[in-house]
Symmetry: C2
Subunit: 238 residues, 2 copies
Amino acid sequence: MVTKNQIKLVVNLKQKKYRTQHGLFVVEGEKTVSELLNAGVKPFGLFVDAVEKGADFNNPELVSSAILKQMSSLSSPNGVLGVFHIPVLKSIDETDWVVALDAVRDPGNLGTIIRLCDWFGIPNLVCSQDTVDCFNPKVLQATMGSIARVNVTYADLEVYLKKTALPVYGAFMDGDSVYQQKLPPKGVLVMGNEANGVSETVGGLVTSRISIPQYGKTTTESLNVATATAILLNEIRR
Amino acid sequence: MVTKNQIKLVVNLKQKKYRTQHGLFVVEGEKTVSELLNAGVKPFGLFVDAVEKGADFNNPELVSSAILKQMSSLSSPNGVLGVFHIPVLKSIDETDWVVALDAVRDPGNLGTIIRLCDWFGIPNLVCSQDTVDCFNPKVLQATMGSIARVNVTYADLEVYLKKTALPVYGAFMDGDSVYQQKLPPKGVLVMGNEANGVSETVGGLVTSRISIPQYGKTTTESLNVATATAILLNEIRR
């Protein structure tokens, strides 16, 4: 039996302050919930639509569609909702490439970038404090299960970049072509804000400014930060 | 003076049937409207918030914020709304790469892919009839001004792929690594649906099945279709 307080807790977890206060976050969908369980992320509660037959979890709480709709962030809930403990952060491992984000605000972009880090085996993602929260429901919707496999840390980027022993690469519209670079086996890749790119203070700590060449007619457009990250991580790994 | 009928027309243009009926579409934002004007797309009407100072168009209709809000697809309208004539399609030019989309449903994905075609100088995008409409407001929001520079055609993909003289490449999870391919100077790149990939019938017409290698641990995840397109177009052009 789900209590009113449980429903209220799940609804509150849409807000960052409650996620921080309770150390909990919510994901939806059987596949994502399964991936988090498989990755060893500790569940706090699993809620499954009683009329759904598919979901096969250990002791889920069976709830009505109406209750699930109350809890869900989605306009059409998909039958499974899991509340998980926010994992304890590991320290940033500098034996491989690290992606650093400077004020990325769009949840879909952050979610896609986490999924890309997972695909390309980038173990660590460092976000500036003003980057969108990685446990935001829209971020989690875009990451699929990847959040379980990438260590996402929030830090003062200036402090981190001053401290790191790795070479620091940054994506700039006017940087040198990434095709002409010999990229090292490890480094930091800094990606900037959707509208303003890498900020001046963070940009001052970048040692190599790189760009993705535009083909054909040059326009004022830039690439979306998630697609630019896809291309640069592919260049790093190929 | 804006009439009630004009407002109703703009609101109706959110739906594909009215866009087809009137041969008109709507874009919002000064930058996108400017890019369409610069590209020679014929305006039908330009509506500018009377309190906005920035927009510098020839004879715009000045409207109140309240009227603009009624017309807009955005929760916070950005001061400029343009109604344009849907351009007359050019025939598909096969002197360069062509991107073909098989049932891409998400407007953000299609918008991002149009923007990528523009960036990488791909002049033609062919969409299956069940791909989301490129004049959908959410698609246009994601394309920025790129819609003016890419020729987007809707066609029966099977018919098109049977007819083309170009080699047909397709993205598949189990395809050969794109890193090991010698990609020709022109061809067709087929990208599939978000959930199901390239359909069986279209897949049967693909001559080379390619994939983006996953780095590190293999998971069941796939890349988002827009990020996969970004990486493959970069591979084609680099």
